[in-house]
């Protein structure tokens, strides 16, 4: 059997052991369903928060204190202005209440803010050509709206126009031939965020995978039978396979769940279109996620393998998270300024490269840089694993040549002796 085939076989043996040892345990079920805990609490918290918000939003009103003769025109103007806002969502202004003025409209307006029946966001009183608008904290938008109500009502009155609209437009939805700048930017940012969160949640697990072998003393058996590089690669790939299983499970749920969403729920992303095209982008996303996982996982695995105690291992989690955040920040800065030197550094630095390059895939249509980047990142995966295995051999197994400065000192000592 050739050396390569033997190494491959040994790596697969390690993968198989680690994968089955991880997946066929009750803990894996907990790991797989962990997002449910997050979702359950998020949904419960969201429902509670929205109930509180809704109950206060339901009571929110804009008030116009005006003679009954003006009511019909004001209501007509309000109806026309409301067509500028979507029917659902937070952008629409609260309902308008028209109240007849009493003897002291200024005092009446102030009194509206203390009313029990509703919560006034802004109140308009006085003549429409010189109205007084009072508004509460966070009621500036409503005050602007009331100002427009006054302006448009006055215009309608002076022009002597009826309720029928003067203009009857024809609306036609157009699909762009090319991705818009905002659409590309949206996809680029989503890609960077996506890979960052996936690696943040999943690759950190690699840090403790050698701890089992060290505590069980199995490492001696493995090191005697298999090259350490195979052990490292095997463990890394097994953890990646576990991550892929996790993602496949949730992706299936999300894709099927998305079908249940009401029509138009994805309208926010209607303009989102990656520059490399809708087929290449998901493929590149998978490729860069793989590389990001492998690169960061290899580094974390190598660092974790050097630790002697569980406490040392736990101490690593904070610097690891910050390192990932740093790579994410660098990649995001590069994505926001395509073609800049920051973007170049983010794309070239191996550990931020996958994040930055998925951003580039969103912004730029050229494919060849991605082939170069994937090869570059794969090379760094190999380098990181090799360096990690050597450090392990030297630091933990006490093997291999000493570092060059120690070799030099030993040579000097020998010469002196």
């Amino acid at each position: 059997m050739s050396k390569f085939r033997r190494t491959l076989r040994q790596t697969f043996t390690v993968i198989r052991r680690d994968f089955t040892a991880t997946v066929f345990t009750p803990t894996f079920l907990l790991f797989l369903l962990a997002p449910l805990i997050f979702l359950t609490f998020s949904v419960a918290g969201g429902i509670g928060a929205s109930q509180i918000t809704d109950s206060s939003a339901d009571k929110l009103r804009m008030v116009v204190i005006a003679p009954p003769a003006q009511s019909a025109t004001i209501q007509q103007v309000d109806r026309q202005l409301r067509t500028l806002f979507p029917k659902r969502g937070d952008e629409a202004p609260p309902p308008l209440v028209i109240v007849a003025p009493d003897a002291n409209p200024a005092a009446q307006a102030r009194g509206m803010f203390d009313a029990d029946a509703f919560e006034a966001a802004a109140v308009l009183h006085g003549p429409l050509d010189k109205p007084e608008i009072l508004y509460a904290a966070r009621g500036w938008g409503e005050a602007q709206y009331l100002a427009q109500i006054a302006e448009q009502t006055l215009r309608v009155q002076r022009a002597g126009l009826g309720p029928a609209p003067l203009s009857t437009p024809t609306r036609t939805a157009v699909t762009r031939e090319q991705a818009s700048f905002s659409g590309k930017g949206q996809v680029a940012s989503a890609g960077v965020f996506g890979i960052f969160f996936l690696t943040l949640f999943l690759s950190g697990q690699a840090v403790g995978t050698m701890a089992e072998e060290r505590s069980n003393k199995v490492i001696e058996v493995l090191a005697a039978a298999v090259p350490l590089e195979s052990v490292f690669f095997g463990k890394l790939i097994a953890m990646f396979a576990v991550a892929v299983l996790f993602l496949a499970f949730w992706a299936t749920l999300i894709v099927n769940g998305a079908k249940l969403l009401p029509e138009g729920a994805m309208r926010l992303f209607a303009d989102a279109a990656p520059a490399v095209g809708p087929v290449a982008f998901p493929l590149l996303f998978v490729g860069y996620f793989t590389m990001a996982y492998m690169l960061l996982g290899a580094m974390f695995l190598s660092l974790g393998a050097q630790t002697n105690t569980q406490r040392e291992l736990q101490m690593l989690s904070l610097p690891i998270t910050f390192f990932q955040m740093g790579m994410f920040g660098l990649a995001l800065a590069g994505t926001a300024t395509p073609g800049s030197w920051v973007a170049f550094i983010a794309e070239a630095f191996p550990f931020s490269s996958p994040f930055a390059m998925i951003g580039r895939a969103g912004n730029s249509s050229a494919i060849w840089p991605h082939l170069v980047a994937l090869a570059w990142q794969a090379l760094w995966v190999a380098i990181t694993v090799t360096v990690g295995a050597r450090l392990f051999r030297r630091g933990v197994l006490k093997s291999g040549n000493p570092p060059f400065w120690k070799r030099r000192r030993a040579a000097i000592d020998t010469t002196v002796n």
Binding site: Q10, R17, A225
Partner: protein
């Protein structure tokens, strides 16, 4: 040669743990590496297997300069035993075989057969964490032979085993030798080495102090005589060699180089008579103590 090494050197910091070790293990032989604690036995075995790289010297394993190239034909039981506690016994054995190129399915089948033969058949589906230390050690040994290696390297295989399991292990080692495998094992318990080894090396202070057969090792010491006089045991001492030591009613002394006959004649003529006489061959234990003790004296000097 199944294993050969010349001038192996390993330093840990400034200390030379292994200092120019030469070993040659012919094929099909049970070869012991004996030495006191800290002699460098484990480090030597680890270098031979390629787990750690030597700082000097050369070694070949089953004809390969790089021990890794022979790894599929080697079985190894390390001094620090290690198994995955969550694995079933037969899975653990099959896994160790798979690391050495044995297909999992074959490994599982052989594991059951091996466990049956070793009297552990009832535990084939038990998880490692349920086993006693001795049983786990035997399972690991079975894992190191499941792929039927040409060379079996055992580092302190008897440590931590009760007499019954030690007997089982000796039987297993003999079975491997009968299969044609070469066995290289380290120990500091002389009784096992005396019973099992065809040849042996005694390592002390990182150097080989003796190499040869058990008989050769024992021959480094003269025979001992145990003589019990019929009359006046105390007075007989004056006629005996200077190293004679009183032992109960008799004396123990080194056999004179010219033989014991002349001495006996003298003792009979002096009226001490012979109530008992035995000639003892020195054991491996005595040879080991002398060789290692000599090294300690040399180091002290």
């Amino acid at each position: 040669m199944a294993v050969s090494a010349s001038g192996l050197v390993k330093r840990f910091g400034a200390r030379r743990v292994v200092d120019g070790v030469d070993i040659a293990v012919p094929e099909g032989m049970v070869y012991g590496v004996l030495g006191p604690n800290g002699a460098g036995k484990t480090t030597t075995l680890r270098m031979l297997l390629g787990i750690i790289e030597p700082d000097g010297g050369a070694r070949t394993l089953l004809g390969h300069d790089n021990p890794r190239d022979a790894s599929d034909s080697v079985g190894y039981l390390p001094e620090e035993r290690g198994l995955y506690p969550g694995m079933k016994c037969r899975e653990a054995i099959a896994f160790m075989g798979a690391l050495r190129g044995l297909p999992w399915a074959v490994g599982r089948k052989r594991a059951v057969d091996l466990m049956e033969a070793a009297g552990l058949g009832h535990a084939a589906d038990d998880k490692i964490r349920k086993l006693s230390k001795g049983m786990a050690q035997l399972v690991q040994l079975l894992g190191s032979v499941v792929h039927e290696p040409k060379l079996l390297v055992l580092d302190e295989p008897f440590s931590g085993l009760d007499p019954v399991n030690q007997e089982r292990l000796e039987k297993l080692i003999r079975a491997q030798r009968d299969r044609g495998a070469t066995i290289l094992f380290s120990t500091h318990v002389m009784a096992h080495a005396e019973r099992l080894c065809d040849r042996l090396s005694i390592i002390a202070g990182g150097k080989v102090r003796f190499e040869g057969t058990v008989t050769d090792a024992r021959a480094t010491l003269p025979f001992k005589a145990h003589y019990t006089p019929h009359h006046d045991a105390a007075g007989a001492g004056a006629l005996l060699p200077t190293d004679a030591e009183r032992e109960g009613e008799g004396w123990r002394f080194t056999m004179p180089s010219e033989g014991i006959e002349a001495l006996l004649v003298k003792l009979i003529d002096a009226g001490h008579g012979i109530s008992g006489l035995s000639i003892e061959r020195p054991g491996l234990h005595d040879a080991f103590v002398r060789i290692v003790g000599q090294q300690a004296l040399e180091d002290a000097a």
